[in-house]
């Protein structure tokens, strides 16, 4: 450790003895913090609107998750009161939605307004650039073609988000080398091991890309979910008519109707092609003419919300019960075991189908387009799997001498669990949680695939529904409809598993893949 902290050592030695806070330590040696902070500030300013929007989306999901849980608990006692809670929930959500639309008007460099990609190609419009004159599009960025404008915007957004993630990591590194009071913690070794684990890093990149897709999908896609899917008749596009040669206006819904992908080459808008209205479709269109790329971005947002709430809930319950059951042991342990076995004994997919069918006309189904119900069921059925995996490490740490010592001098059980057991269990929770995420994504997609009121309510995009729509066209000109959503799921699930592998090798380099967590990654056979 001494080797890579040479120049910071003297400053740290002085601060380590003192009891000053972080702020004083930064003031003593401001340069590294300043260097990091300037770049971070530039990054924030560049994307102020989008970042606020992204954070608000997360807050929205959190509010939904928490109030949803309250809903369910209150609903057990009195359904009328639960309905009141839903009203509060919806009001809160509408409020956040309002703030979010105001946030969207904040200056943002990588936005649809700054780099637009929609427009029409009027042959008479000519622009010149560096002495070269070219036939320019009206609308898209610099008069480029919609495809090029879209590609520039998407590439910049992806680069931005990957760099921002890297910069956050750099921030932690700066803190660790220059400002942290402890010279070394065990967590440093874990991070260093993960840094050298290329398979794990692949997982991180995939997850960052997925987060970008779900939080900044509006910027990435050639169109927006609202414009292209949910309110397609309330929006219009301009195009140059083939018949008259003049610029005409048409509702998006009508344009979609004439851009269907139905399998035969005459009626198909494939991958990386334009439709008749000058709209570019990177992934082609769905059988109902909607843009598949936009649909996938919308689906990513839904997937993130449901998976996030579910895994958060399952992880919380599993960690809590693992601590309690291993600390007290005996009857507590046995009853949790029976409870977990009882839940697991019903195949998860069947339980999901059953609950979705039963709650089809229930108010819970209306919250969040059915996403909340899904998230709750996933959360309540996934924790036993996580708990089983955490139980071993938790039992191990409960037998350590320091836990015994803490008990013997009369420390509160909750304090012992939180301070002496939780940090150890938390690492394992990360491993198994990231391996379970894949299973939830797959199971969620399979419910939307089955349709008939299961899964996310249409027209809100859901990955599984795209596959179901593409099923008749697998071996036709419209092969893209079923293939691309499936590939995206495969990449995401592989990435989540890779991250789990990486974290496991970082935390516990001796271990080899077990079997229980492997099964968890497949979503109950979906």
């Amino acid at each position: 450790m001494a080797a890579n902290t040479t120049h910071a050592d003297d400053t740290r030695d002085t601060t380590r003895r003192s009891t000053d806070g972080l702020w004083t330590r930064i003031r003593t040696n401001p340069q590294p913090a300043l260097r990091w902070g300037v770049v971070a500030a530039v990054l924030v300013v560049l994307e102020l609107g989008a970042l606020t929007g992204g954070i608000l989306t997360l807050v929205d999901a959190l509010v939904m998750g928490v109030t949803g849980l309250i809903d369910v608990i209150v609903g057990l006692v009195s359904p009328a009161l639960a309905g009141r809670v839903v009203d509060v929930q919806l009001a809160l959500s509408t409020f956040i939605e309002g703030v979010r639309s105001t946030a969207q008007s904040l200056p943002t460099l990588l936005s649809r307004d700054v780099i637009p990609n929609q427009g029409y190609n009027d042959p008479s419009t000519v622009r010149s650039f560096l002495g070269l004159s070219y036939n320019a599009w009206t609308g898209p960025f610099l008069g480029l073609s919609p495809a090029a404008a879209w590609a520039i915007r998407m590439a910049l957004t992806l680069a931005y988000s990957l760099f921002t993630f890297y910069w956050l990591y750099r921030g932690w590194l700066t803190f660790r080398t220059h400002y942290r009071r402890a010279g070394w913690t065990p967590r440093d070794d874990m991070v260093n091991r993960l840094r050298n684990h290329s398979w794990g890093k692949f997982g991180i990149v995939v997850l960052v890309l997925f987060l970008t897709m779900s939080l900044f999908g509006t910027t990435l896609a050639p169109s927006t979910v609202q414009q292209n899917i949910t309110a397609s008749y309330g929006n219009e596009v301009q195009y140059v008519s083939d018949d008259t040669g003049a610029v005409e206006t048409i509702p998006v819904g009508e344009a979609n109707f004439n851009s269907k992908s139905k399998g035969n080459p005459a009626q198909n808008v494939g991958v990386m092609t334009y439709d008749d209205y000058g709209r570019f479709h990177p992934f082609g269109t769905l059988p109902n003419g909607r843009d598949l790329f936009t649909y996938m971005m919308g689906g990513a947002e839904t997937t993130l919300m449901v998976t996030g709430i579910a895994i958060g809930m399952a992880g919380f319950i599993a960690a809590l019960l693992a601590l309690v059951s291993s600390y007290y042991g005996g009857t507590v342990d046995l009853s949790v075991l029976t409870l977990a076995d009882g839940i697991v004994s019903i195949p998860q997919l069947l339980l999901l189908i059953m609950v979705s069918v039963v709650f089809q006309d229930h108010w819970l189904k209306s919250v969040f387009n059915g996403g909340l119900l899904l998230a709750l069921v996933f959360g309540l059925t996934t924790w036993p799997v996580l708990w089983r995996s955490l139980r071993g490490p938790a039992l191990q740490v409960a037998e350590e001498e320091w836990v015994d010592a803490a008990k013997s001098f009369g420390q509160q059980p909750t304090v012992t669990m939180r301070k002496h057991m939780l940090p150890y269990v938390l690492g394992y929770l990360l491993i198994y949680a990231s391996m379970t995420v894949g299973g939830i994504v797959i199971a969620m997609a399979s419910l939307s695939f089955l349709g008939n009121g299961l899964g996310i309510t249409p027209p809100t995009p859901a990955w599984g529904r795209a596959i179901s729509q593409g099923q008749p066209y697998v071996s036709s000109a419209s092969w893209h409809i079923a293939l691309i959503p499936g590939l995206i799921i495969v990449v995401l699930v592989t990435g989540a598993n890779a991250l789990g592998d990486g974290i496991r090798d970082a935390i516990d380099p001796e271990s080899e893949g077990g079997s229980e967590e492997e099964a968890a990654a497949t979503g109950g056979g979906a």
Binding site: I353, S475, V490, V493, S515, A519
Partner: protein, 363 residues
């Protein structure tokens, strides 16, 4: 502890699990917002018809008062445990559920059987091969293939495969290859598997022992028919088997008994088969048995996509039509199978690896 006692203890531990699973099912289906009368008779049922229906369903006594919930719960438990599954509400009105399940069971068992076997026959050799040639390109290809193969959603794989194998697909010739079969749909061959022409003709020894001999023609046809679906259903287990088989081989390769055998001059082939192979199978057992858990959930989707008339498909239809008796009975059967398979796994363990004791494996 001796084996019968151990089995008895494990069975006893299964009772609360079964009870809990059944209670959860009861809570969801009976206390949930499904209205059975609405589900069966539709919106415009006359009050008398509704009343009569409620009486026949056991929700109301003939004298008009409602049956208390705990009585319903008790009746439900007794009915399930005595395998009295009642009659269907919606799919096939008044048909006994038990008959519906029994009629569809062979297709599902056939599918499950081959999905386990196909996964084993492909997954384990590939895994062992990758382990024996570790860090070569073929190892990387096999390991990476296993990881990606495992990450593929079953329903998507089924959609892609059925699309490729049917009209217009790249592998369209499959249906007519060797024997003519349907790729999507139900095969008649399965019914003729153990019936039709005298099954015992010409095999006196087997006839003597009363082992039913399947007819080879229908057998081949039924196998070819189920193969794509079995491949899909076994995909995730196949991936797991590759991965874990590889790790297990690497671990046994490092062990001392392999070094000893080498030093003694045992032939490499014998080392692989006797010393490495056998030990590598032990960690694979939970994967193979765990596959059962995936089979139930997976069969629902795979049977739906391939239009196989099995109990998974029955469950979907029951769910879409709110046919509670059918759903309930199927869930009960699945829970029961799950518990029995867990027990079977633990007992099998003791046979394969004598080092494992029978005492403390409550997990």
């Amino acid at each position: 502890m001796n084996r019968p006692l151990y089995i008895a203890k494990r069975l006893l531990l299964g009772v609360p699990v079964l009870l809990f699973g059944l209670t959860l099912t009861f809570l969801i289906l009976y206390l949930g917002p499904i209205d059975p009368v609405l589900a069966i008779l539709g919106k415009d049922a006359t009050p008398t018809a509704a009343r009569n229906l409620e009486i026949s369903l056991g929700i109301r006594y003939p004298n008009g008062s409602l049956v208390p919930l705990w009585v319903q719960y008790k009746n439900f438990l007794v009915n399930m445990v005595t395998f009295d599954f009642g009659t269907s509400w919606a799919i096939a009105r008044d048909q006994p559920v038990a008959a519906m399940i029994v009629g569809r069971l062979p297709a599902t068992i056939w599918l499950g059987f081959w999905s386990v076997l196909v996964a084993l026959f492909v997954g384990i050799p590939v895994g062992l091969y990758a382990g024996l040639n570790s860090n070569s390109w073929s190892d990387y290809a096999a390991s990476f293939g296993g990881i990606v193969w495992r990450a593929m959603p079953n329903f998507w794989l089924a959609v892609m495969l059925s699309g490729l194998l049917t009209a217009g697909g790249v592998l369209d010739g499959y249906g007519d290859f060797l024997i003519k079969t349907d790729v999507v749909g139900t095969s008649n061959a399965l019914q003729h598997l153990f019936s039709g022409i005298d099954p015992f003709a010409g095999v006196p020894v087997l006839e003597f022992f009363w082992i039913p001999v399947p007819n080879l023609g229908p057998m081949a046809e039924a196998f070819k028919w189920i193969l794509p679906a079995a491949l899909v259903l076994g995909s995730s287990s196949m991936g797991n088997e590759v991965r874990i088989g590889r790790t297990a081989v690497l671990e046994s390769l490092r062990s001392e008994y392999v070094d000893t055998a080498k030093a003694k001059g045992v032939s490499p082939r014998r080392i692989i088969v006797k010393h490495i192979g056998r030990n590598a199978v032990i960690p694979l057992l939970p994967v193979i048995m765990g596959e059962f858990y995936l089979l139930i959930g997976g069969s629902v989707l795979v049977e739906k996509v391939f239009s196989i008339n099995g109990i998974g498909n029955l469950f979907i239809r029951a769910a879409f039509n709110s046919d509670i008796p059918v759903m309930m009975s199927l869930v009960f059967i699945f829970i029961l199978m799950q518990i029995l398979f867990n027990l079977l796994q633990d007992v099998l363990y003791t046979y394969i690896d004598p080092r494992i004791t029978l005492s403390d494996t409550t997990e």
